[in-house]
């Protein structure tokens, strides 16, 4: 006859040591806790659902177009603020002159640079409100006299 004792798993039996204790968990909960908990959880879920619904609705109706507008703004801003490959900025022109680099320039670029230099010089010496008028006069003078690049270099 097969001995059943040999097949009994020793880990399945409750250890004798634990028999002295009451198995009931020795904690209590506030009165009516379990009665009210389902409603508390339900309220939380409803709040989350409405928040999620609101967000979903907003994301389609507001956030989507807003994101598109922001993206468009950045594209336009980037386009207008990035110098094109064919344009030489006044600072670049000054550097080119100082480094004696040969650069093809139109007359208006020269006038801009010259005006800028005059403006900077004047603003450092005297801060008067008539600067703009004087600058215009200089520019008019340069235009009228058809001063070329070599003259400006000599002036500098």
């Amino acid at each position: 006859m097969k001995n059943n004792k040999n097949t009994v798993d020793p880990f399945e039996n409750e250890p004798d040591f634990l028999a002295q204790f009451d198995k009931k968990t020795p904690f209590s909960v506030p009165d009516h806790y379990f009665e009210s908990l389902p409603e508390v959880i339900n309220d939380k879920i409803l709040k989350k659902k409405s928040l999620k619904f609101g967000f979903d609705k907003m994301s389609y109706r507001i956030l989507g177009p807003s994101a598109a507008l922001i993206a468009l703004f950045f594209v336009v801003f980037h386009f207008y603020n990035t110098p094109s490959g064919n344009t030489v900025q006044p600072e670049e022109f000054s550097d080119a002159l100082l480094n004696e680099v040969s650069v093809e320039l139109d007359d208006y670029m020269i006038y801009d640079v010259y005006a800028e230099i005059i403006e900077e010089t004047e603003s450092s010496t005297e801060q008067t409100s008539g600067n703009e008028t004087e600058n215009d006069e200089y520019i008019d003078y340069l235009l009228e006299n058809d001063i070329d690049i070599n003259t400006i270099i000599e002036e500098l």
Binding site: T25, P26, F27, S28, V29, P38, I41
Partner: protein
């Protein structure tokens, strides 16, 4: 309240119009078991309440994707266990306490707990359980208090049945040792 089987509750939940009602019934069916499972680990009632609410909210979010590969109750226990472990880890980080000291801190909470209704010997048993490593504490509580099958525990804790049996055996030995020394 009518008593529905888990399958019936899941079918009701799947039908959109009765989802809220079905979930409410699921909460009512499992809230106490899950609460005690969490409470025995975090000791404090308010903490247990927070963890339990998070458990049910996670369950609500995940129930749409619940597959009948596991039982609803083992799935809920698994969420509750994960939430409990996450809570205890956060507690360690928040109060900059080491892995083992959190159990010491919980023993302090146990002694001051207004909702502790046991006798002196039961308080001592709880203190002894708190000396166990976290996973062993889970195994002991689930086996001793919940009388859970090792197969179900294996699904919840993702551990082999053999390892769980050994863990429970070691836990009892350690508790016995604690009683000899205190």
């Amino acid at each position: 309240m009518e008593h529905y089987s888990d399958d019936q509750l899941l079918s009701m939940f799947a039908a959109r119009e009765s989802a809220n009602y079905a979930f409410n019934l699921i909460v009512r069916k499992y809230q106490e078991r899950l609460y005690w499972h969490i409470r025995r680990m975090v000791i404090d009632h308010d903490d247990a309440d927070d963890v339990l609410q998070n458990t049910f909210i996670k369950a609500w979010k995940g129930l749409d994707n619940f597959k009948n590969e596991s039982q609803l109750y083992t799935w809920l226990y698994r969420i509750a266990t994960n939430e409990t472990i996450t809570f205890l880890n956060k507690k360690r980080k928040r109060f900059l306490i080491s892995f083992h000291d959190v159990e010491g801190e919980l023993t302090g909470s146990l002694e001051q707990d207004h909702h502790f209704s046991g006798k002196e010997i039961e308080l001592k048993l709880q203190k002894a359980i708190l000396t166990l490593p976290e996973k062993q504490r889970l195994v002991f509580n689930m086996k001793y208090y919940d009388d859970m099958k090792y197969e179900d525990m294996s699904q919840i804790l993702n551990t082999s049945v053999g390892a769980l049996k050994a863990s429970y055996h070691h836990a009892v030995k350690k508790i016995e040792e604690y009683f000899k020394n205190h």
